[in-house]
Symmetry: C2
Subunit: 306 residues, 2 copies
């Protein structure tokens, strides 16, 4: 593959590391994945992890190989901290904010994109999602509106073209996990969580969350009471908890959503659940391919150098 790789796009998350070789015409010429996510590496381990992944590619070239990285590699506990841009900001400025860690091997020239923060009484941070948002803007000319990125820490961003106006983070996915694993509700999840009653539980929980997002602390306990009193089975309870949390999240963002078609960036299964709940309030969700989005974001970040 000598000289057909122009540069390498990298998404370096907490759990994984993904790299795509980009040819001169912008096409992906290879894809490589490694389990060496930020969460598993000490600071000194990052150069070797990248070299290992790209050794063959960089050896075959005459000049240094440009590697553009987004995600948690730029966190304080990552490879080299890439200071946040502060929202509101134009995401075309991402590359200007990049940091360039030193490599023992000069054949690889990495740059890590910054995350975005928000202050002024609404403290918030993102790392990785800003590149996806830029990718969405690049792929969806003229888009303006709210974008939802469901996950452990769901992000909701208001985008105007390539400009991020405001964003928030909902601890929905993590809340599901800690409650399922560590709270009194765990007694209601002792069995098959993916049985046939899960869909009914999800719909009931979502309706409750949408109707009364302010009642979450109280409605949660009804999961336990429902299994004690009404014989609710583990699959129904798991669906209810999932629906209640997603319904609460979407219900609390209703003023931003209106009747919009909300782009969804995340795992296909999770995006389908969010689309279902968005449909319950007369809006809709449009699941986007997360890999395509992050690649478009890294390409766009690279093209917008000031």
């Amino acid at each position: 593959m000598t000289e057909i790789v122009d540069w390498v796009a990298v998404d370096w998350g907490t759990s994984n590391l993904r790299a795509w070789g980009i040819g001169p015409n912008g096409a992906v010429v290879f894809e490589k994945t490694s389990p060496k996510g930020m969460g598993k590496l000490a600071r000194a381990d990052f150069p070797a992890a990248l070299t290992e992944l790209l050794d063959e590619v960089s050896s075959a070239r005459s000049g240094p190989l440009e590697v553009l990285i987004c995600g948690m590699a730029g966190a304080r506990q990552g490879w080299l901290e890439a200071p946040y841009l502060e929202a509101p900001t134009d995401l075309r400025g991402l590359l200007d904010g990049a940091v360039r860690p030193e490599m023992p091997d000069a054949r690889i020239a990495p740059a890590i994109l910054p995350g975005v923060c928000q202050k002024a009484g609404a403290d918030n941070v993102m790392r990785g999602e800003e590149t996806q948002l830029l990718g969405l803007a690049a792929l969806t000319a003229g888009f303006s509106g709210v974008v939802c990125m469901p996950g452990t820490h769901s992000k909701w961003a208001q985008l105007s073209g390539t400009r991020i106006e405001h964003f928030s983070t909902a601890m929905t996915g993590e809340m599901f996990e800690v409650l399922r694993t560590h709270s009194v509700l765990r007694h209601s999840f002792d069995g098959d969580l993916d049985g046939p009653a899960r869909a009914d539980g999800f719909a009931a929980g979502a309706a409750a969350g949408l109707e009364h997002p302010e009642q979450l602390l109280g409605t949660l306990f009804q999961v336990r009471a429902g299994s004690l009193l009404s014989g609710r089975q583990p699959d129904w309870c798991a669906g209810y908890l999932s629906g209640l949390l997603i319904g609460t999240e979407i219900g609390s963002n209703r003023h931003l959503i209106g009747q919009q078609a909300v782009p969804l960036i995340g795992s296909p299964a999770l995006c389908a659940l969010y689309a279902q709940v968005l449909g319950m309030i007369g809006a809709s969700g449009e699941a986007r391919d997360a890999t395509e989005i992050v690649l478009a974001g890294l390409k766009a970040a690279r093209s917008f150098v000031a």
Copy 2:
């Protein structure tokens, strides 16, 4: 103490077991405590735990010693399940719903009071709090209004005299513990949690929770972002999380509270925090002595046999 004990009142919770000997004139003639709470006992261990606590007292009497028990001993996973009364209901019926477990030693005659449940789409359960509510009614003639019982699972009950009309449970205390221990927020609590900034953090969190109880899933993440961006210290973060959860709980019950003086039954430290937040919305909290309340409840339950 021969014959001066008329009967024994017992509060058998998850963590502890407390017993009070009641003399013929209603005065407490002894108090005994044991760490043998329901959570530490197998079903077969309950008779011995009670005998051990009351052996000396029962041996000194000629007839069987009546022991009236409230709390988790009557749960399904406890000694002997005492079926729930269903709200709305008059708490003077508690003794009618009591179950009488067999004892190997006939000198002790225990009766376990039922809990209260609620169905019809607002599934909920309580065990032990119903006896406290009856005690509150007995000590506060003519009381009608909302009562708050702060704790791991806070109860909010609407009481009309001895009648419980409706109640809810907020997982506030447990949420604090699971988030502090198991979520990403734990990184913000690495240090002294009881430092001087805790009070400021509490006030800020309570204000945020009261203003936007529907935003809990989002505001929670600001604890983490605040320590990353604004250098918030662990004491401030712990105060903020506590205030945010209590503010959210009280904010979600605002329609029930109005400008009332709300009786608070719980630990003095927790009741003081709830009273502070109730004051922020123009209501007030009146901390009651929880031991006095549960004793009054057991006495009242015993006096109202049909």
